[in-house]
Structure formats: C-alpha cells, structure tokens
C-alpha cells in the first residue's frame, strides 16, 4: 500500500521517537524528582526552562538549535572538539533536538506524579530504615507509575508529531532525517496530495489510538486508586 519512501519515513520516525523517549525517561526522571522535592529558589527558573519548548514556535527553536549546533555555535564547538563533527543533518542531531523539544511532555507528568505521592509515605518508609535510594526505587517509582506511562506516551507521540524543529536541523536526508511529518509536507508542496493523505491518515489514526489508550489507562489507574 505504501510507497517505499513513505515506509522508510515511517520506520525512521518510529526509531527516532523510541530513542528519544528512552533518553527522555533517563534524563527527565532525575529532573522531575528534583523539581518535585526541592525548596530551592531556582525551582521556578528550571521549571520555566523545561517548559519553554511548549511556548516557543518550533521553527524558532529549530533555527537556534541549528545555529547553536552549527560549526560556529557553542554546541558545535564542543562536538567538533570532541571529534564528533557537527550535529545538524544527522540522526544524532535530530535526537538531541527532539530531546530538548519533547522534554516538558516527559518531565511534567513525572513531576506531578512524584509530587502527588506526598512526604507521608516516604517518611514512613524512612522510619522503617529505608535508605533514600530504597525510598526512591521501592516507594516513589512504583507509585508514580501512571505518571511514567503518561510521560512515555506523550514524549513518543510528541516526537512523532514534531515538524518545525526537524525541518530546520534535518536537511531532509532519506533514512537519516526525513521523518513522516516532513515527508507529508514534501508531498503537499509537490502537489502529491494522494500520498500526503495516505501518510496523514496513518498519523491521525496513530495519534488517536495512542491518546485513547492513554486516557483509558489513566481512567483505570484513578479508579483503582479510589
């Protein structure tokens, strides 16, 4: 049913979203934990930085990522010094950009889930001589599970739907940076509306099913708790 180029774009998108989601859970969890527990005056500032990609137009974000990761940009200087070359126009570059872009969608649900646990249970665990590590892994993490599911699903879906950032830093290379959203845009620009519809329907179906399952899961999770 799908043209080979479309299948390539679909597989690339799934790969990108999977890698980004895995990385975001690793990076986002400590940030969320810190935000949920800190009394630091820096907290609102960090929260604002994390939330920036929600507010900024993706093409603006993409443009500055392009400049920052370019040969004269601060990130580009570091990657070049490390012998990695520059990041734009590579799959790795897309991953870095997407991690930044989808960060709030992962951090915020986890942070809320941690915050909802409250100090009571953790203090109770402490009186039973649970170390901070134990408290995190055996109390906080399991209780925050719905938050993690929401975070993973939103992080994945948001990366799939990303367009402006990829457009700016990607360079439209088949199999490297030409993801589904860019492919749809190309089809529309080239007046290949049939192929565009095909991918757009797939994307819409995927998004609906994903969100439906997420909300169904969240409902079950709340009902189990009450």
């Amino acid at each position: 049913m799908f043209a080979a180029a479309n299948i390539e774009a679909i597989l690339l998108t799934i790969k990108l979203a999977s890698v980004v989601t895995a990385l975001l859970l690793l990076i986002g969890t400590p940030i969320a934990w810190w935000l949920a527990n800190t009394h630091s005056r820096l907290k609102p500032a960090v929260e604002a930085v994390v939330a920036l990609p929600i507010v900024l137009p993706p093409s603006v974000l993409g443009f500055y990522l392009l400049v920052a990761m370019g040969p004269h940009g601060p990130v580009g200087q570091i990657t070049q010094a490390l012998g990695l070359g520059t990041l734009p126009f590579t799959f790795t570059g897309l991953v870095v950009a997407s991690v930044f872009y989808s960060l709030p969608f992962v951090v915020q649900p986890i942070q809320n889930a941690f915050a909802a646990i409250g100090p009571g249970l953790l203090e109770a665990a402490a009186t039973l001589r649970a170390t901070p590590r134990d408290r995190f892994f055996t109390v906080a993490l399991p209780l925050a599970r719905p938050g993690f599911v929401t975070a993973a699903v939103l992080g994945f879906a948001h990366t799939v739907g990303e367009f402006g950032v990829v457009l700016m830093v990607g360079g439209n290379i088949p199999g490297q940076t030409r993801v589904v959203s860019v492919q749809i845009y190309d089809h529309v620009e080239a007046l290949e509306y049939g192929q565009a519809h095909e991918l757009a329907i797939l994307l819409m179906g995927f998004s609906f099913v994903t969100l439906f399952l997420l909300y169904a899961f969240n409902r079950r999770a709340t009902m189990l708790r009450t």
């Binding site: 443009f63 392009l66 004269h72 070359g85 360079g171 190309d186 529309v188 007046l191």
Partner: protein, 247 residues
C-alpha cells in the same frame, strides 16, 4: 446604543471598501528582497498599498486553490501560474515573466568556492546544500547542473535539502553546509556579491529559471493589482530586479 453600534459597523465596512486600492500579493521566497524594494517605490509612486506574503510556491498553490484572497501571484516558476490559469483561478492573458533567476554555488567562507566551481569535482566538503529539486525551481536547476557535470550520483550522499531556497540559504549562511546552490538574488545586493565565495553557474548548465507573475481571480479588474503588474514590467522595477542578480 444598538443604533450607534450599527453605525460603527457600517462605517468600518465602508472604510474597508474605501481601501480597495490595496493589493494582496503572494511572493516567491527567493524574490523577497527585490520585491520589498520594488513595492516601496510602487507605493510612493501610485499611492496604492501592497500587502506582501512570502513563501513557497507549492504552498501558495494549495492556498490559492482553497480560496486564499491573494490578488497577484509572483511565482518562483512558470508552471504554477500556467496551471492556475488553466484551472480558471487566474486571469487569462495576464501572465508574464517578471524575472529569470540565476543559480549560484555559494559558501559563506572565502576561498571555498573557486571561480569555476571545480570544488564540486574535488568533493572536499561534507555537505552540499540545495533546495528540494522536487519542489523548488532552483533545486531542479541545481540537479540539472550536477547531472551535466556528471556529479549528481557521486555527490548525492552529501546533499542536504532545504524545503525552499530561503531555508537552503540558511543552511549555508549558518555554516552548517560548507557550500550550496542558492539564488544569486540572496547573496547579491547592488550588483555585488555580499560575502563569502561563489561560482555563478553559467545559464547553459540548466533550463532557464523563469519566474512568472499572474493576476488571480480576486484581483481581476482591481486597479491596484493591474497597476502593480504594469509597474513590475516597467523600467524602474526591472532595474531593481537586475541589481539583485536576475536577468
């Protein structure tokens, strides 16, 4: 109170009618800089106002087909205006070539591109930027040039594609691509290339990049739309167009 409101609304409506000598123009991205200069003179001279929207030709086509209110369309190619005319969306006979684009191989750094473009054969670069050949006339011209040089296949792995010529220019200007095919109009002002190094691709390397303008249906019989097209053909406008590297 109600009566005052009706009066206010009526006056707003009338004032919008009175500004009928305003023309809405869709302009191909590569023509952004010259068009701003042209419109400044046009407005001074005629008293009409021109509202400019810049973007990709394919996107404009989709918008026009779906009822966009543009009155004049300055396309990056000659096919799209012809197609719009065929489909009954443009005024027949209003079409003409307002500019012929020049392709240039350009680098933001000096000493990267030599005067004959032999850097392409040497291949001593990681990325070569060009506009998507499927979408942008300058991209198609770049591909034809590379094919004529017999380098299209060997350089393909180094291609990075912009969605339009504006984005392609950004890739090269930011240094992310060492060099790339852009429109001469983007790197030229007052008849001079503004920086970096460049090879102006000879016209015989590709089919001419004809850029056509057309009056769209909403602009039919509108004074400002017709005046703008007349002005575009005229000598002052053509002088501006040439100073940006068009033929």
């Amino acid at each position: 109170m109600t009566r005052q409101l009706i009066l206010a609304v009526t006056m707003l409506f009338l004032s919008s009618l009175a500004r009928a000598d305003e023309v809405q123009v869709a302009v191909a991205a590569n023509f952004t800089a010259p068009m701003k200069a042209i419109v400044a003179e046009f407005e001074n001279l005629t008293g009409h106002k021109a509202q400019l929207s810049f973007g990709g030709t394919g996107k404009f086509y989709a918008q026009i087909k779906n009822g966009a209110p543009y009155q004049v369309f300055l396309s990056a190619d000659d096919e799209t205006p012809a197609k719009l005319e065929q489909e009954g969306l443009a005024e027949p006979g209003s079409r003409f070539t307002y500019a012929v684009g020049t392709l240039v191989l350009w680098s933001a750094r000096p000493d990267v591109v030599d005067a004959k473009g032999e850097v392409l054969t040497r291949g001593t670069f990681a990325h070569l930027a060009l506009a998507n050949p499927k979408l942008a006339p300058y991209g198609a011209a770049a591909m034809e040039t590379l094919e004529k040089l017999g380098l299209a296949a060997s350089l393909r792995a180094k291609f990075v594609q912009g969605e339009n010529i504006a984005q392609t220019h950004q890739f090269v200007a930011s240094g992310n691509a060492e060099l790339g095919f852009v429109a001469l109009s983007q790197v030229m002002k007052d008849g001079r290339i503004t920086g970096g190094s460049a090879w102006i691709v000879p016209a015989e390397m590709h089919r001419p990049i004809r850029q056509d303008a057309v009056i769209l249906n909403p602009g039919r019989d509108k004074a400002a739309a017709n005046a703008l097209l007349r002005f575009l053909r005229g000598r002052p406008a053509q002088a501006i167009i040439r100073s940006y590297g068009y033929q």
